[in-house]
Amino acid sequence: MGRILPYREFLPGTQPNYLHSPYVSSLRRSPTKPLVRVPQTLSEITGPSWGAKDVVAGACDLTNRHSGSPIGPRIVVSGSVMDEDGRPLASTLVEVWQANAAGRYLHHSDRNSAPLDPNFTGEGHTLTDSQGRYRFVTIRPGEYPWGNHHNAWRPAHIHFSLFGPAFATRLVTQMYFPGDPLLAFDPIFNCTANEEARNRLISRFDWETTLPRESLGYRFDIVLRGRHATPMEEADRHQE
């Protein structure tokens, strides 16, 4: 019944190790035995696909979910989702969540003393368009303290979750802001060894999407795993 076109391996160093001791929560939650290397099958190169019926229209605007406007600098975060060959990935579900402008999440386990904002939930989702583009309207999230080590503060960030075309292409990441002085001290941002890969998590300020008298624009492009150039039989792949 033919061949499958497997997804490429990640370039070494561009992904975090599971155990990264400066991030204390990883100590008891990272596997201690090596992962078992397996060939990709139909189970890995397929995955859920989503359509318009799966998203709430308007869920890409995090600022108009309530009766009033949320507090904080209004921003537009937009970008393109593509594979490693630069091909746009259309109709991909993009989910985001974030703290409010004071650095507080609307979540029962966030014990930060900063105030909640009755006009901000911090949830958004959208599908990429035919060119792989997405666009969210939101407010700039605040930095916040956390318990990882003495005087630990997370840099401002927005969580991103993407499916892509297959189980193999799933990505959850965090988007940061340029010039944030906390980046240098954050064990989560710094968990990836490759500096170039790490710095691609930082969005860039963008005049093109900045709206006069309304909002600053930030661009954040996202690359999902690409595919091997030629199909391989499973048997060939085992001998790589």
Partner: protein, 189 residues
């Protein structure tokens, strides 16, 4: 132009804010064909403490062994109401539960059958990138020849097998242990 895939970051402890709109523990829905199963378990850390901020994502074929995806060219029927994707968070006790149908066997590219299985993506605070594993069914003859299971140390294979409930047919237990003697087998592909 060759780009490089973006780097993973942890989902952190507050992922439910962004993910709960697609939480789904009844994977098959009411109308799907196939044998109904219920799976329950817990996710435990290296101290065997429950992990209350983890989320599982399940992907599976339908009862005929066909994925609802354009690249599945197997000559098998689709099930019009069946997508095969579930997303289930753990609760305060580290517990999760879902219901679905037992998937059919999915072919390898060379035509050999894989044993029926679900693929599982696991994310949590403290995990910097997703871990993936598989759930297999006990007593399945195809388990003996399954291409993926054969790559797993026989002593560890049981971490991938559902454990049947003693009294309730179709009910199974499956626990995830992040570390230790009974550490769950995780895959890299």
């Amino acid at each position: 132009m060759k780009l490089r895939a973006s780097t993973w970051q942890t989902v952190g402890p507050f992922f439910s804010i962004g993910m709960k709109h697609r939480y789904l523990a009844d994977i098959a829905g009411a109308d799907a064909a196939g044998e109904r199963i219920a799976v329950a378990g817990r996710v435990l850390d290296g101290d065997k403490a429950p992990i209350s901020d983890a989320v599982l994502e399940i992907w599976q074929a339908n009862a005929y062994g066909k994925y609802a995806h354009s690249e599945d060219a197997q000559d098998k029927p689709l099930d019009p109401t069946f997508l095969g994707h579930g997303r289930i968070p753990t609760d305060i006790d580290g517990a999760f539960a879902f219901t679905t149908i037992k998937p059919g066997s999915v072919d390898l590219p060379d035509g050999r059958p894989q044993a029926p299985h679900l693929v599982v993506g696991l994310m949590m605070r403290g995990l910097l990138r997703r871990l993936t594993t598989r759930i297999y069914f006990p007593g399945e003859p195809l388990n003996e020849s399954d291409e993926i299971l054969q790559r797993v140390d026989p002593a560890r294979r049981k971490t991938l097998l559902l454990a049947p409930h003693a009294a309730r047919t179709g009910h199974f237990r499956w626990d995830v242990q992040m570390q230790g003697e009974a550490e769950t087998v995780f895959f890299d592909f």
